[in-house]
Amino acid sequence: MSVAAPKREVVSSFRQHYWLFVLPGTLVIGGVIVFPWAFTVWMALHEWNVTGDHAFVGLANFVNLFGDQRFIESVWRTFWFTLLATLIPVILGVWAALVFHRSFPFRGLLRTIFVMPMMATPVAIALVWTMMFHPQLGVLNYLLSLVGLPPFSWIYDPATVIPTLVLVEVWHWTPLVMLIVLGGLAGLPTDPYEAALIDGASSWQMFRYITWPLILPYVMIALVIRTIDSLKVFDTIAVISQGGPGTASETLNYFLYLQAFQFYNVGYASAVVLVFFVIIIALSLLLLYARQQTKWME
């Protein structure tokens, strides 16, 4: 007893010092993340251009925003893009994780190659895709012609530009889903499989009734991350289609970029940021809620 008392005292006095470790980080976060947020709210209530002239306009920016056809269309386009660019990588990523969880020759090397797209610089890769999409000289249309298919319009047709950009996004980010789900698979207990093998369960039954419920929480994390990242897509669009043809691939983030740094409507763009953020939070909460439900079902 006489030993425990001073120990607790020492420990608790140290606990009071932990804030010192967090202080520098807090200052940096405050400077580069919290300050911009506060300033954005302030700007959204003003008519503001980049020369610094500004006047208080209340909620006028928001009212204008919801009457702006170009904005509304960009929101729906972003949802369509996000749906495709979330579901396809998640499905392929789960499949890839199941494959790379098996042991086979050269697994380490092949996994490294598979992971490389998510590390590669998006701008650089987007340049290569742009050349591959070229209607006359691009290698993709040549490959299609080899299997007897007509040339595809890729990024040159409003109807095909979004699926084409999704293709690039899938190429980049399927590995991230794979890594997250692989982490889940690595922690699976072995007992249920042994029991199932003894009971003569098929591979499909083992996946459906053992593996799937156990990795579902990880799949949900991947789903949330992919949703957030797809909503924010920018690099790929800026390089490959610049929002075109017309405005056919102008997503929310690209609309925001144009308003802020091409048209210099700073106040208007700040209103876009806030609406954008509400959308991201709402979708994330929805998915996290769904994740809670899957956990409860276990």
Partner: protein, 290 residues
């Protein structure tokens, strides 16, 4: 607990051994289907960069450079100040990662030890959710006011938006796994908080510093929007310099592919060298349940 994953592995190994020939073919077809898109894009990039301009715009396309030529690379170096942009990228990414580690590692420690992980995790999640562009508008105005637009310093500051959250996030996970008893023992012997952090917790969490540093490096190096908006002619980073080449030299495919390859080469090399740490960081440490 440590023996569990290996048990799973060996069990899967046993299943592989038992698997029929059809199952093995299905596995390899899956592997080839999954890996080939990555291989094809990277090889095509390499092929474009090593061919003559005539071969690059030939139809049907020429796949294997014959003979391979470095002319595109020579042209990239002659027509652009690639070395300057490379140095800018090194300064910006290096600075942002170093400062990120200096403030992020102690922060991760403080958060892990004071059990305020939940609140911090929410803040970092919010930072991750927010589009980078939205930080850029207020920071751009601030830098304008301070006369810092177009400086390397401004770029380093904005890149902290990327590096600090990644490093804090990874470090919280690693410090939570360092047993607190070791430090308590040292403190009873009279070590200060700082000494027990520096001599006990930090050495044990060193793999986390490596993982956090590598991930922060990769995502900071790859970022281009900050540099497009904030950098001047002489302070561009590599990705935004290549983006600018696109608008001026749309038809010179060879040099464009060569430049693209040069931009992404450092990141790919790091990925190959540190693939074990990256896989560990992204599949476990960085994204733990919570």
């Amino acid at each position: 607990m440590a023996s569990r994953p290996s048990a799973v592995q060996s069990m899967y190994g046993a299943r592989v051994g038992k698997r029929s020939r059809g199952g093995r073919i299905a596995l390899w077809v899956s592997v080839i289907f999954l890996v080939s898109p990555a291989v094809l894009v990277f090889l095509w990039m390499l092929s474009l960069s090593l061919k003559t301009e005539i071969d690059n715009i030939a139809y049907p396309p020429v796949f294997i450079p014959n003979p391979p030529t470095l002319a595109s690379y020579v042209e990239v170096f002659q027509k652009n100040r690639i070395l300057l942009y490379f140095w800018n990228s090194v300064l910006v990414t290096g600075g942002a990662v170093l400062i990120g580690l200096m403030v992020g590692v102690p922060a991760g420690y403080g958060i892990a030890r004071s059990k305020s992980g939940k609140a911090a995790a929410v803040l970092i999640l919010v930072a991750r959710m927010t589009p980078a562009l939205s930080y850029l508008i207020p920071l751009f105005l601030l830098f304008q006011l301070l006369g810092m637009v177009g400086t390397i310093g401004a770029l380093v500051v904005t890149h902290l938006v990327i590096t600090v959250p990644i490093i804090v996030w990874v470090m919280i996970g690693y410090f939570e796994n360092v047993p607190v008893e070791l430090e308590e023992a040292a403190r009873i012997d009279g070590a200060s908080v700082w000494r027990s952090f520096w001599h006990i917790a930090l050495p044990l969490a060193r793999p986390g510093v490596v993982v956090g540093g590598i991930l922060a490096f990769i995502f900071s190096w790859n970022n281009f929007i900050f540099s497009v908006v904030l950098a001047g002619k002489n302070t561009r980073t590599l990705p935004s310099a290549v983006y600018n080449m696109l608008t001026f030299e749309q038809l010179a495919w060879g040099p464009l592919a060569a430049a693209a390859l040069l931009v992404t080469l450092p990141v790919l090399l790091v990925t190959v060298i540190a693939q074990r740490e990256i896989v560990a960081g992204l599949s476990a440490g960085g994204l733990k349940d919570g």
